[in-house]
Symmetry: C2
Subunit: 341 residues, 2 copies
DNA sequence: CGCCGGAACTGAAACGTGTCAACCGTGCCC
DNA sequence: GGGCACGGTTGACACGTTTCAGTTCCGGCG
């Protein structure tokens, strides 16, 4: 129970402390016999290196941290997976923190990371705006990479997905299907992702079909149901024939409401969601959606981070933007009958 | 950029190192004027404490770690949330690690936690069997609490949910509805959770309706669809009138397959899932399910852990078992017509 | 006036490593 | 046989804290 230190190992093995240290860090530099003996003692005593002491000596940790905005959201767990893979291949450890959209908690986490002298930080900050604490990290030589927050700042790297393009992909798809009336369901527009998707959507449809904006207060299934109610209640002549949702949750709620009211999907209304979450494909009517390369996002972020860690001088800050991808499923499939004008 | 240490602060403030340390840790012990001066210098220099050095001195960290089996699974993110809340109120930090069902990665994480001299570890191990590495932690004075793994071991605490009772709840529900033929969908039975649910289910129905076991190779939506196919293909006289799924994902797949084949839910077949995941309520037909107190699980685990941390001597290892809860929704509602015999 | 006590502060030791210059011995080459 | 190179090992120092026994200073009391 009393933790055994390198000193004790050295004593029991009849060698100096330095030799034990060498066995662990530079095994080649020590004679095979001594090495064996030391390793035996280590095993016998159950000696475990003290990371605090190592870090103190080294001045730097060997782990990177990811501060996720909301680990309940599959988006971030996928990003995390990508980060873990990239870190693993680089021989670096990842520890995860969850801010849960709570600024206070985020701050506390960042303070701790600063005190821990972490290798680097991957973060999706709660506030899109400049956070002094992030600058503080950078000033202390801890690289920061923003995830899914396209801060145009040149002080750090960032990775993101092109949400404008995502909206555009949905728009192009619906335009090709020849929909006369379309709607965008989503909100609040104060969320950049939402407004970007909306912007891309409307821009790509300019001069085309009539666009209705159905604003929601959040991005939940319940909000989707409410939007569905609003849309279903419209007179048939005004009702959109296709809906693009800012989110798969909205789309699922919408789908559910439509189905329960006898509005057929995609027959009467086509639906396209966003995110391609696991349940999109498993919905009652499999959902078309815009897929984001989430794992890749995490991988790229980690690579940028490690690049900066390893070559702080040569490093040029970059902003990597990934392209989302349209996944067509049944909810927006062209309907075989010539019902559609 | 060059990190500034307490020494530099002391020099600039014209005091000794010890005084600066006191300002930080025992503010009352230092005169108000000096305190002010030191704090000013700290702010001016942007001094940040070196956690490695503190820990080295203290011999112990101030954070607990949670090693989750699969953060992609909402079950664990909810447990995590509970743990974070409990830790927060105790003034302790939580860092999350994800083993992703990978033994190698789990081992690596545990080694690191051991080296970090973490306060304690919350873990759902990949293998149900005794892992030497966990014992190693305990031997080094690091308490371990098992989450959702009811190891009867008396070497550590554990928290879990009574899966047998869960199966029983589903059974009682279906029995009350008077179903003549029921089925259990799930597998592999080598997973303790699955076999427990099955055991509770069959035990509670003993002497009652006929029970069919539809074994699946995993717990995914796809497996649920396959099971749905198998069930729908049965001759009407043999087809179960109610199905209990080991998992909501299975239930969703099953539901989807049934609906697409014109088998009405709950009219022709009632469905009860397990876990009450977010999408259970949002399914085309809202899904009845067995809910587990997931956040509470995390809170309890953390409390047990901290209790052991704070009073290692008085501490008695305990195994807390929570009761799951039946949530009835449309998928198993009694059908008003007297169609059912 | 001398002494005492307490508040405020100091200085050094210790925590467990990694590193690195110095040292030792052995075998080889000339 | 003497010097040299080199593999193997040692010992001391430094990393940045916290802690604690001392030291200093000062006001109050006998």
């Amino acid at each position: 129970m009393a933790t055994v230190s390198i000193k004790e190992v050295a004593r029991r093995a009849g060698v100096s402390i330095g030799t034990v240290s060498n066995v662990l860090n530079h095994p080649d530099a020590v004679a095979v016999a001594t090495r064996r003996r030391v390793l035996d003692v280590i095993a016998e005593l159950g000696y475990v290196r003290n990371d605090s002491a190592r870090q103190l000596r080294a001045g730097r940790s060997r782990t990177v941290a990811m501060v996720a905005l909301d680990l309940g959201n599959p988006f971030f767990t996928d990003v995390m997976r990508g980060a873990e893979i990239a870190a693993e291949t680089a021989g670096v450890n990842v520890m995860i923190f969850n801010s849960g959209e709570d600024v206070t908690r985020e701050r506390r986490h960042l303070d701790i990371l600063n005190e821990q002298r972490v290798l680097g930080v991957l973060i999706t900050p709660v506030n899109e705006t400049h956070d002094a604490r992030l600058d503080q990290l950078v000033e202390h030589g801890i690289p920061v990479v923003l995830v899914d927050r396209g801060s145009g700042s040149h002080h750090r790297c960032s990775v993101a997905v092109d949400d404008v393009l995502g909206g555009q992909l949905a728009a192009d798809h619906l335009r090709e299907l020849g929909h006369p009336r379309v709607a965008f369901v989503g909100g609040p527009l104060s969320i950049r992702q939402v407004s970007d998707r909306y912007a891309g959507f409307t821009a790509a449809l300019a001069g085309g079909p009539q666009i209705r904006l159905v604003a929601t207060t959040n991005l939940t299934v319940a909000a989707g149901r409410a939007a569905g109610q609003e849309i279903a209640d419209l007179p048939a002549a005004e009702r959109p024939t296709a809906v693009f949702c800012a989110n798969d949750l909205l789309a699922l709620g919408l789908l559910q409401e439509m189905t329960s009211r006898g509005v057929r999907v995609p027959h009467d209304v086509a639906i396209v969601g966003y995110d391609d979450i696991e349940f999109a494909a498993a919905a009652a009517v499999p959902l078309s959606s815009i897929r984001q390369p989430r794992e890749q996002l995490g991988r790229a972020a980690t690579q940028l981070l490690l690049e900066e860690v390893n070559e702080p001088d040569k490093h040029q800050h970059r902003h990597v933007v990934f392209r989302p991808e349209l996944v067509v499923r049944q909810s927006s499939e062209p309907v075989p009958t010539k019902r559609r004008k």
